[in-house]
């Protein structure tokens, strides 16, 4: 599940993008992991995540199986964090997304104290992640670096569309949908927040960063200056 490694953008565009996730190792420390995974999410909720989720059961923003048609005029879907916690019923990957370093560091410090025994990773700018580790008194164990895309680059969409769509690394936010949302924001048919929510519902892991998405959509409104 390399679903956050290859987010597209330059270093500046990741200034508000930190994903922390916890996962057990199959057959090693997954036997009693359910409560630990829930604990991870409970701790994350104390530090204002902009999204969170369970890779098997979904994130904060989810599609509705039976939607009332009035949603076209007034769509209100409460975020049910307690349901996300309750639905965890076995080994999975849980994640929380933060849009600032202060919340990230505070969360990591709490995670360290909680000593869950699960593998914890930060996906984001490598130097920022390292600084966060140092601040929390942690020596990082391993690092995986994204070296970007190769091959038929002409088959990829334009940069802002990639920035938005690759926030679901599983490819569930299609480039066409990301472009559609950008056009709708530009045309004044949706606000950046509404467009970001529509896109986020396709991200099954809950790693879509709502703050970064709104910033990208707002910038697209002004022609990506």
């Amino acid at each position: 599940m390399t679903n956050t490694l290859h987010r597209y953008g330059d270093a500046e565009s990741f200034r508000d993008d930190f994903i922390v996730f916890a996962m057990p190792t199959r057959g090693v420390n997954d036997a009693d992991c359910v409560e630990k995974l829930r604990t991870f999410l409970r701790l994350a909720l104390k530090h204002h995540p902009v999204n969170l989720g369970d890779a098997r059961k979904g994130g904060l923003y989810q599609p509705t199986p039976r939607l009332n048609p009035s949603a076209h005029w007034r769509r209100q879907e409460p975020l049910r964090t307690d349901e996300i916690l309750e639905r965890i019923d076995g080994p999975t990957t849980v994640s929380a997304v933060f849009d600032n370093r202060q919340d990230l560091v505070a969360f990591i410090e709490e995670l360290k104290a909680a000593d869950l025994g699960l593998s914890i990773n930060i996906s984001g700018l490598r130097d920022e992640a390292n600084r966060c580790c140092q601040q929390a008194g942690i020596t990082r164990h391993s690092v995986e670096y994204s070296l970007g895309f190769r091959g038929q680059m002409d088959r990829l969409p334009e940069r802002p569309v990639l920035e938005l769509s690759t926030m679901c690394g599983h490819g569930m936010i299609s480039a066409n949908f990301a472009k559609k949302m950008m056009d709708w924001v530009k045309e004044g048919r949706r606000t950046p927040a509404e467009a970001a929510r529509s896109a986020a519902r396709f991200c099954v892991c809950g790693v879509f960063n709502m703050t970064r998405a709104q910033r990208i959509l707002e910038r697209a409104r002004h022609g990506n200056p």
């Binding site: 890779a55 909680a114 593998s119 990082r140 391993s142 995986e144 070296l147 091959g151």
Partner: protein, 278 residues
């Protein structure tokens, strides 16, 4: 996946939702249809859209009236108004498409959902990549282009020629008929999937050679390749890999950092700390 032709009202919402652009409105019948060859069975149209369950003839009548008066209704973009998208039973080898494209499906080979790999995310527990070693994750088809297995095989064959040993607990390796030669089983070669990851590890010294070969092969493929490399840090949290990458002209400012908080519980024990920290 298929679209129920009686239920579809040709609203067009699902067209933009498809990651590989496999859905279009057939002008002959005025309904959305799926190009089966292009569809990767990711289930995004079925699972990702909210559903209204409206009565199709009623919706069609309203749409006809609105169209006649040139009214533009501005519906929510992530809704199928009539629940027209229907999963179909997938036989072999088509079921492989879903296994490699639908992120909520667990890979039988590894027991992991998504792309089915742990890479160095659990390296603090598995110790798969050690100090002085580099793990490679070579991903095909991402983002949104897709790939067929015969394209992946071109890369795995080239890497096998260099003596690469593929990660055993990996979904692509599980599709190989001869891992030593990088051969993928013939009956899946033409299957199109959204993305797949080839994994292996090597010594730090071989990184430039292997990166060069991967780039070379990637240029000849008709898809995109996303490249990732990983390493185990030393006791000070440092490694030689970033300098090595910089020396080869790679900028690697983003990635995943494993904090080393995972551990292996003693044999036969149940960790009493489950949930105690809340």
């Amino acid at each position: 996946m298929r679209i129920d032709q009686w239920r579809c009202v040709a609203c067009g919402n699902c067209l933009a939702v498809c990651p590989v652009g496999a859905i279009h409105i057939d002008p002959g019948v005025g309904r959305a249809v799926i190009n089966e060859d292009a569809c990767v069975e990711c289930y995004n149209c079925f699972r990702g859209m909210s559903k209204e369950h409206l009565f199709p003839p009623m919706v069609r009548a309203i749409r006809r009236v609105a169209k006649a008066f040139r009214f533009r209704f501005d519906p929510e973009p992530d809704i199928c108004p009539t629940d027209a998208i229907v999963p179909t039973e997938l036989g072999w080898p088509r079921v492989v498409r879903r296994a490699f494209s639908d992120p909520v499906v667990e890979h039988a080979a590894t027991g992991i959902h998504g792309r089915g790999t742990e890479e160095v995310k659990t390296n603090d527990v598995t110790h798969r990549v050690g100090e002085g070693e580099t793990g490679f994750v070579v991903e095909f088809g991402r983002p949104g282009v897709g790939v067929r297995f015969h394209e992946i095989q071109r890369m795995t064959r080239a890497l096998a020629e260099l003596g690469v040993e593929f990660e055993k607990k990996n979904p692509v390796t599980s599709m190989m008929s001869d891992p030593k030669r990088g051969e993928i089983r013939e009956d899946v070669l033409n299957e199109k999937i959204l993305s797949a990851i080839v994994e292996f590890k090597t010594t730090l010294e071989r990184v430039p050679e292997l990166l060069g070969r991967i780039e070379e092969v990637a240029e000849g493929l008709s898809t995109v390749v996303a490249l990732g490399v990983s390493t185990r840090c030393d006791s000070a949290g440092q490694s030689r890999l970033p300098d090595l990458l910089a020396g080869e002209g790679y900028t690697a400012f983003r990635g995943k950092t494993n904090l080393g908080l995972g551990r292996t519980p003693p044999a036969g024990s149940v960790d009493p700390r489950g949930g105690s920290a809340s």
